[in-house]
């Protein structure tokens, strides 16, 4: 057993944390949040230069990491700083799908920071069901509607899932296509997100694309396992920030003549938050450390983590706001953004209940 980070990961963590602390203040982020494209190209490029994107890919894929703990380290730091740039959707999900489909040149471009992708998979009625694809492909033409597609407006290419055969919820028969941003018949209607960044409703009306794979479900399911684990790590980082801000606030804010942290009811609730932080950290370690195990074990650990982070995240976001009081409700205060990131993470890749059910099903299997 060994729970220490390797030297390389430790260095990546340190440099990333330093960069974000110095360059990604609340004020800076609040300014980025207001931008029409919902991101900063400068931050994207500089983080790419720091190796953030490269760490998400194996050496064979052109990166220098790609294992569970490489990805966990990166996303925990992004979460800690509340980064809204689309590293999850563009780089990790988009990039790893392309890597799995051997699009080596595009992956190289991604690692260099010069590419933006969007993955148009979820649909208005699919909720969290990964095999639910109604968008059809017929004679190479894509038709359908994709929902809450992250980073769609900024993307150079969209990766679109479509049903080549089978029923709407079948795992078999889902193909993946690469679609250029300016393809005919593609409509992108964008909007900002509560937790920062932008997404869009995407309509495909006879759009032509390049076939990436006919076994889309297998690719998606591996990449979404990675992404779910990364989301847990990101949320862990955000929870850590919320806990730290609250801890600091309890120590400095005075009421009735003394620091509010000396009020025992608050102190004990703070202790419960800290206990749940340990639980959450361990759950992420389990998810990251079992990524290369057989699918059932991998997915049990991922669902366990997503469920636990959902519960602990809710506790920490809500308790942090409550113990701060009104200040935490204001957009200007760091915690407001962080709490939104934590809560909205529950709406990605399956929520707390979804993963509880999945864990139960896998346990019974």
């Amino acid at each position: 057993m060994n729970f220490d980070l390797t030297e390389e990961r430790q260095m990546l963590q340190d440099s990333l944390r330093r960069y974000l602390r110095e360059k990604y203040s609340t004020a800076t982020r609040n300014e980025i949040l207001e931008r029409p494209n919902g991101m900063s190209e400068e931050v994207w490029t500089q983080l790419a230069e720091l190796g953030v994107i490269g760490a998400m890919f194996t050496e064979e894929q052109g990166g220098f990491g790609g294992a569970g703990f490489d990805i966990a380290v990166v996303f925990e730091e992004l979460g800690r700083a509340g980064v809204i740039e689309p590293f999850m959707d563009s780089a990790l999900i988009g990039g790893r799908i392309l890597a799995a489909c051997d699009k080596t040149d595009l992956v190289e471009e991604m690692i260099g920071g010069g590419l933006q992708l969007a993955v148009a998979h979820g649909e208005p009625t699919s909720r969290y069901d990964m095999s639910h694809v109604r968008t059809s492909v017929d004679g190479g033409k894509l038709n359908g509607r994709k929902a809450v597609v992250m980073n769609a407006e900024n993307a150079d290419h969209l990766i679109v899932s479509a049903r080549a055969s089978g029923d709407v919820a079948d795992e078999a028969g889902i193909a993946l296509y690469l679609v250029a941003k300016d393809a005919a018949g593609l409509t992108i209607q964008g909007y900002p997100l509560l937790a920062g960044g932008r997404a869009a409703e995407v309509t495909l009306d006879g759009v032509e694309g390049e076939l990436l794979t006919e076994d889309g479900f297998a690719v998606l399911s591996d990449v979404m396992a990675l992404a779910t684990m990364a989301q847990c790590a990101e949320t862990l980082g955000a929870m850590d920030t919320a806990t730290r801000l609250t801890n600091d606030y309890l120590g400095t804010r005075k009421q009735f003549g003394r620091p509010i942290g000396t009020f025992q009811a608050l102190a004990h609730r703070m202790a419960d938050m800290l206990i749940e932080m340990e639980q959450a950290r361990s759950a992420v370690i389990n998810a990251a450390g079992n990524l290369r195990e057989e699918t059932r074990i991998r997915d049990m650990n991922i669902s366990a983590a997503k469920n636990l982070l959902g519960r602990a995240g809710r506790l920490i976001a809500e308790e942090s706001i409550q113990m701060h009081g009104g200040i935490a409700m204001t957009q200007e205060y760091e915690l407001a953004h962080i709490a939104k990131r934590i809560t909205m993470a529950d709406h990605r890749f399956g929520d707390t209940d979804h993963h509880l059910e999945r864990f139960i099903a896998l346990s019974a299997a």
Partner: protein
């Protein structure tokens, strides 16, 4: 024991229902149902509708032009208003300031301000909270110094709800800094258009502009705007706070919210079945529904005692805590229910892409409401303050 309304109460409920059906404009109830903001004009319009029926001031004595309803009648009205998605009555002038004026104001103040309130001539806001005070209200620092016929006010108020619409503010100010905190406070009425007042918006985490900071820089307030006696303001403030607690349980809002959750969950599909048929989601809904049913009865018990002349004490604190827990849980269920569509930033998404979202009016505002309603357990005496009151009263062996 009889859990049903009397015939008189049922008749009153029918009258309220008919009023809501006939007089509440549909575009208004649509906005409320969908979590949109009504705006100043809409709010004033609703006030005028109520006033023409004589229902704008349910808790005022008849001699001041109020409806003088008892607690049960007020409850019935609030329940029906919530069920019909009627706007709330803006409480600052009508429910909070007015009782203070009626009890402690001079004849001149009563004669001038009370009719204007019914006629909608003034929009009042509340100047209580200050930066750094939080739940420790009495530590307020805004200073008022008497100079001839005026007070000169300097300081800052915060969390001033809808202050951006207001032309008047009632303020707690410190008139004697050398005595015990509670003993040097006075209650002033201040015209927002007086030079030296500046209102700055506070944007909340869901992007809304509900609250403000109000700055006072050598603001001149005529002495006739002092309510009651100088340095007795804390007494009036406490009196006001008991009136702030009307409808503290929020049963009607919770019931309306729960109906929304069920409507969404019957439409939303999860794993090939309606979400409402998912046992885990159904269990969450059932549990909060069970809690709400019980709280509604607790609320009626207290209202029934209040209508019979009893004074709700610690029970109000209990209702505040449980009521906010239930409402926040319902907000949480709503955001869960809509799945990935909780993520769009509602207000803008609705404006920009009405057509694009599958059912934007249901899904749109729920996550924003979840965040916005975290305030319920913070403002108006945080749940921590309420728990302290409950424990103190009970361990003291009585109220």
């Amino acid at each position: 024991m009889d859990l049903s309304y009397t015939d008189e109460e049922l008749a009153f409920r029918d009258e309220v229902r008919a009023f809501m059906r006939d007089e509440l404009p549909k575009e208004m109830s649509d906005k409320i149902r969908l979590g949109d903001e009504l705006g100043k004009e809409g709010q004033e319009k609703w006030h005028a509708i109520l006033n023409s029926k004589g229902w704008l001031a349910p808790n005022w004595p008849k001699k001041f032009g109020g409806a003088e309803w008892n607690a049960v009648q007020r409850h019935i009205f609030e329940e029906e208003a919530a069920a019909h998605h009627a706007p709330r009555i803006v409480p600052f002038g009508l429910s909070m300031l007015a009782p203070v004026l009626q009890k402690f104001g001079s004849k001149e103040q009563q004669d001038y301000w009370l009719p204007r309130l019914l006629e909608g001539k003034d929009w009042w806001c509340q100047g209580y909270s200050e930066p750094g005070a939080g739940s420790d209200l009495a530590s307020l620092k805004t200073r008022a110094v008497r100079e001839g016929d005026h007070y000169i006010v300097n300081g800052q108020k915060t969390w001033t709800t809808l202050g951006q619409h207001a032309n008047m503010i009632f303020c707690l100010v410190r008139t004697d800094p050398d005595v015990k905190q509670q003993e040097g406070i006075s209650f002033l009425l201040i015209d927002m258009n007086t030079p030296g007042i500046e209102v700055r918006p506070i944007i909340l985490l869901d992007g809304t502009h509900e609250v403000n900071e109000v700055f006072f820089d050598d603001v001149k307030v005529p002495v006739e705007n002092l309510v009651g006696e100088e340095n007795k303001g804390w007494t009036y403030a406490k009196y006001l706070l008991t009136h702030e607690r009307t409808n503290i349980a929020g049963v009607g809002f919770s019931q309306a919210g729960l109906n929304t959750v069920k409507r969404i969950a019957r439409a939303e599909m999860a794993g090939g079945k309606p979400l409402m048929a998912n046992p885990h989601f159904a269990a969450r809904v059932a549990q909060v529904e069970i809690d709400l049913k019980a709280m509604a009865t607790s609320n009626m018990r207290i209202i029934s005692a209040a209508a019979a002349g009893g004074a709700p004490g610690v029970e109000a604190s209990m209702l505040k805590v449980k009521g906010t827990i239930i409402r926040q849980e319902i907000n949480d269920l709503a955001r869960r229910a809509v799945g990935p569509y909780a993520m769009p930033f509602a207000s803008e998404a609705i404006e920009g892409s009405n057509e694009a979202l599958p059912d934007p009016h249901e899904a749109g505002p729920v996550a924003a409401q979840y965040f916005n309603n975290r305030k319920l357990s913070i403002f108006g005496g945080s749940n921590e303050i309420q728990r302290g009151i409950i424990a103190k009263v009970m361990m003291g062996g009585g109220q």
